[in-house]
Symmetry: none
Subunit: 224 residues, 2 copies
DNA sequence: CAGTTTCATGACAGTTGTGTGACAAAACCC
DNA sequence: GGGTTTTGTCACACAACTGTCATGAAACTG
């Protein structure tokens, strides 16, 4: 069952969307403010999020940015404004699609389906991975070395998870920038720096890494 | 550099899109028919595909379906018709987004970026190739001889992969220069040097190579 | 068998790739 | 709002790699 969270302050529109979505076979929940939406999504993550741009308090753009910080859920903007500037800004903020009200429920449903189809390839359920004395639990957000909990930052964690998900496989700096940072383009040295910092934390001897190894000219990989 | 393929039969619109995309920093190519588009994408895959729905011959829907059979590239429909039924059908066929003409180039660019951010799955894993006691796994960026890991440089690795990909067939120095170095012209001796270095690493007796053999006057080949 | 072409290899200098510490801006947390 | 953590940029140093060249060996050719 696919769960959708609708963040929209107008009660009538929110209820109409919720009803229509349930009609289409989704489980739908609503939130009237960005803050409530963020909290709900943190506590009980939905598979898709619909968000209005005009919200009281925290606006839609900010809501998207904050949610994107630690959630990769597909976000669709549903706004009354059909304005290129808004569309671009929303997508820049991290939204995946932008629909103009009033929305045809069939179209919305088809777009949600398209987003999930594309998203699925990425999301590989990884319960917990073990690399020798290194242990990574993506769900718990924890990294352990020799049973001891290691504090890593969010970026380091995402980088590590990305490498772990494709364990044994080389990932180029470009691929990592794309998948961890979402950059299309950017300074590849950024990856080096974060790999370096990660090594300080997870390798017994950071100068001679056993797990997070460099393949000169190719990229990095995580091995057992 | 991000490459975009535009499949659109109207010359004026196609050219306008191509120009606008290049202005935005993309490399853009055009195709006037679905058939030409499919061929181009097969031979020289772009990172994004834009397709019109009204095409002579094979229509856009069919074009999308066929492309989806063996390509996961993000596909965006650019159509004159703003009709829920068309939108749903296009997304069902495998498109990832649907824009109504006339499109704002900034919006198009932002949507392409959002699609790429969502990311493509890594290409399917390539199984390791085995040549007797020699083992090459492109994914892991590793070469093994008799189970033992051998350190090879990037150029050597590419050269080896290229030879492995056409195992048993002779590749001329020109072909290797072209495929490994991307040189159209250059000193063929360069290949000799790298083949020599590679032999030192992967052959039990480098003076009498068993796998990476010379075919005098023709080139080199990799055999089992 | 002498001459010619083709190939292997060692040395070397210039280039490139990577690790790292310092630093400033941004985000975060009371 | 002030202090702390995290993030991204930069510059430098060092190690690894690349391409060129010279030399000699090996394989063809007539």
């Amino acid at each position: 069952m696919t769960a959708v969270l609708v963040i929209e302050d107008d009660d009538r529109i929110r209820l109409a969307l919720l009803l229509a979505l349930e009609e289409e076979g989704y489980t739908a929940h609503g939130a009237a403010t960005a803050e409530e939406g963020l909290r709900r999504q943190r506590e009980n993550p939905a598979d898709n999020v619909l968000v209005d741009l005009m919200l009281p308090g925290l606006d839609g753009f900010e809501c998207i940015r904050q949610m994107r910080r630690d959630d990769d859920v597909p976000i669709v903007v549903v706004s009354a404004r059909d304005d290129t500037h808004d569309i671009v800004a929303a997508l820049e903020a991290g939204a995946d699609d932008y629909l103009v009200k009033p929305v045809a429920i069939k179209e919305l449903s088809a777009r949600l389906r398209a987003l999930r189809r594309r998203g699925r390839a990425l999301v590989a359920p990884v319960p917990a991975q073990v690399f020798g004395d290194l242990e990574i639990s993506p769900d718990a957000g924890e990294v352990r070395r020799a049973g001891q909990r290691v504090a890593v930052t969010r970026t380091e964690f995402r980088l590590l998870c990305e490498l772990a998900e494709h364990a044994g496989r080389v990932l180029s700096r470009q691929q990592l920038l794309q998948r961890v940072w979402g950059y299309d383009t950017g300074d590849e040295r950024l990856v080096d720096v974060h790999v370096g910092r990660l090594r300080q934390k997870i390798e017994a001897d950071p100068a001679n890494p056993r797990h997070l190894v460099t393949l000169r000219g190719l990229g990095y990989k995580l091995q057992r």
